[in-house]
Subunit: 567 residues, 2 copies
Amino acid sequence: MVEMATEQITELSPSEWFMRNRNIAGFDNAARALYTALRELVENGLDACETSKALPEVIVSLKREQEDKRDPTVYVLRVEDHGVGVAADDVPTLFGKVLTGTKMALKQHRGHFGLGGKMAFLYGQVTTQSPIRIITCRINSRKVAIFSLKINIQRNEPQILERKVIPVSKFLQTQKASPVTTIDKKKRKDSSKKTSKKEPVWHGTITELSLMGDWQRSKGKILEYFKKTAIIVPYANLTFETPDGEVYRYERATESLPEPPEEILPHPHGVDTETLAQMIKVSKSTTLSDFLMDNFHRVGEKTAEDFLKFAELNGKKNPKKLSREEMVKLMESMEKYDKFLPPDPKCLSPIGEEILETGIKKELSPAFVTAVTRSPSVYSGHAFVVEVGLAYGGQIPLGMSIYRFSNRIPLLYDEGSDVTSKVVRELDWRRYHISPDRPIAIFIHLASTKIPYKTVGKEYIAEVDEIKREIDLGLKECARRLSIWLSKKERSEYVAKRMTLLKDYYAFIASTLERSISRKVDISKLFGNNKSNGIATATAQEEGGESVVDEETVVEKVAATSEKGRT
Amino acid sequence: MVEMATEQITELSPSEWFMRNRNIAGFDNAARALYTALRELVENGLDACETSKALPEVIVSLKREQEDKRDPTVYVLRVEDHGVGVAADDVPTLFGKVLTGTKMALKQHRGHFGLGGKMAFLYGQVTTQSPIRIITCRINSRKVAIFSLKINIQRNEPQILERKVIPVSKFLQTQKASPVTTIDKKKRKDSSKKTSKKEPVWHGTITELSLMGDWQRSKGKILEYFKKTAIIVPYANLTFETPDGEVYRYERATESLPEPPEEILPHPHGVDTETLAQMIKVSKSTTLSDFLMDNFHRVGEKTAEDFLKFAELNGKKNPKKLSREEMVKLMESMEKYDKFLPPDPKCLSPIGEEILETGIKKELSPAFVTAVTRSPSVYSGHAFVVEVGLAYGGQIPLGMSIYRFSNRIPLLYDEGSDVTSKVVRELDWRRYHISPDRPIAIFIHLASTKIPYKTVGKEYIAEVDEIKREIDLGLKECARRLSIWLSKKERSEYVAKRMTLLKDYYAFIASTLERSISRKVDISKLFGNNKSNGIATATAQEEGGESVVDEETVVEKVAATSEKGRT
């Protein structure tokens, strides 16, 4: 800043600034940029589907612009979702301008900075000079809007090169878009009424852009991204066609969708004076007390009264007449007052234990899986929920692997810096008789209205004490369950082994008995299908088979007897 | 983005966006924000001083706005530098608007994003509603400009509340600013001519802002920041007055200033088509070949010709008439062509081995110190130099500590993720007979026109292969030197120990000799100040003292003899 005093001062538009500093958003080089662009568009697609409460369907294809070109080269990325779609008039602002965002209301989103998708478009434009193509149709509309646009980077404004609107039927004839053939009738009765069964339906958004990429160097991360996304959204259909013509298809394994998040008012904790000033400006409240109740999450009459007493502010005062000192006092007190109710977790949408377990089973086929959704908690005024999964054995490779997710996004970079890795490292696994060289996979999902990412590229989560604690507790519960399962498994293996021995004893005893009683003793009946019953009868000598003694007990008794025999 | 389709779309100004996402720039909470704000302003102050080629002087004070207030509370931060100052007309744009930057020319700066200082102002404003005060005087001016301003956050525009210009003399009477009394005459003959010796001189910039802070929780980091800054800029005077009235003063230990960096043209490697299009638009060149030579760093006729052949582009073509495909081809070829000359290191300003060693000695008083400035190198078209220092013993605490710097900024957070930590961890210290539990301090300074930070908060450096390699080589050279010093030290300790033994032998032999030759033998002369000579003479029995045999040899011989005696 000051160092530029003797130089020429240039003002940058937000688009320019972000392009110059694109490495902080994950667009460092052709390999990383290809991965980041794809991921940002897939996440926007999933968000668009979940907003419409439909089971997500996202179709991705990546093609070389010219075949036989060596990396890095120009790729065409096409992402199609069957989500809510975008109103034609909103397209230029939402796709062609950096720093457009939602208003103050809070709810859980994949997108966090309102930036990712647009960074992908900008990156595509600066590396290929090509416009982006947007094709979109709102969920109950019959018209498809088709745009070709660029971003005027110096002015941070959309520049529309082409705009046309055509009927859905005509669009489906000319395009290779996949029609939405199956409509979930339970969830969308209204839309199914309007549509005759024979006519193909399509709604959603297709984004197509050219960008400089390096498929060879990003292939691994991109495939890992799809596999991990399939775990965390097992209710989605994902299709990915690679530049080499391979098609990866991740089919949904469940039709249950997590409850969508609701918007809530801001929590008093963490609000600054500038936001307060803006809120007061548009508020119709004439007293400070009313202002607090109308504009903040879970602030009722009693809370407002108690808080104002704590802050030493007059609740009857018109908020528009607060002095600078009073504004600062208000903000400071909001920060320090610890009796505000925590945020309502309805603004969050954890995926739930059952769906998480389904996702893990589907992609990893373990021998054992368990999941825990913790109760909602709060850090700096932001609600959050931690979900932990633990899988063991089966097709899981040896060693401990960690799968990190936040707001249903897999996090693939900087694992070592993430709060999760720290918790996993610090946990005393020996207490649970779990050795880290066994086939173990750990899954952590953090859902929050504000994920404390350390970077714009959404690589990893900062170490926040409250979050760390929840991960720790969730992980311990899972570890405890695995430990019980493992000891049962060991036990049953032990029992099976002893049973084999026992059969040999019985055979020997039977053969000696045969000689003394001079009749055939058939022990094969004792070890039939209903083993426990058989054994219980044979040993306990009780009538009616009522007192069923199971294999374990038999083995223990025999073991105890043979121990005694030895001493 | 797409997820906002059914919600109200809001466009954010860059100021608003950065305020909402201030955690990515290091303004997470009152403690971190206080540290970051202070550091950003100190760094701007140092840059302003170095631009004027003067020995830097930066004076910082931090006071509570109201005494007896518990943290977090409002602090007043005042940073004064004796640098170049800012022209009055530039003040509103440079201080009151986010995303103002320099033009395309490249040189090494502390500031990297053109953002840090302004984030501090914005944070101060949103937490206290107070304006910032800027007092500035250009280096050869006699007029001081005084501003009070706010940032209109919705419009990202400066809002001037007060502006006045007064003579320097009057300003010094009314203000508590420190006059610049000592002018470095060698470096600034011109300005000293203009100034009569009796009149006090003042130039530079004072920035004063109110902000919500938490001194208790940030004190440690802030003091660490000053101590580490004093190491990397040992030619600066730094003064810091804490809210508790303590004054920390870091005096300069050297008057030599590193050579300042020069601006260079952009390197062809890493330029995108958008930048190319902009350059072509303003260029007066009528052929592609001329355009390349005029606008790119170290591209002469031969290079241009060879490159154009490689790119299969016609050098005689008017650059304004390139098609989209040709632009992409140009960019792609610039990326792939590996025969461009590397960037000229004159755009860099490493501090140099001597200054680095001075800084380390001054702040840490080690028993041993060494430093290496590596040769300039290149990553993705950006020039960089790695400097490594290694200190041992003295007042350095036990264990290995790492001091990281980039463009003369100490990096205090996320050490574990930094490329430096990785190199230190991976180095095989045993090869150098250095045990990590000894008192060791490692210093790494990376100077570059583009530091690959992973975060806007400038916490740590990404793992770039070329940089990693240079750090590794520098560290190995330092480790080798320490290893030699350590073995010499061990050797001399060993020698000293043997000498004590030897004296005992001599005393014994002398006493037996005394009896057989019946006269006093004075061995004290043999072990006088000039020990080696004495011993050499006493054992080798050669004349003229020419063949001086040193203590080590004596010890070895005696040792060898006594070994033989034992067998």
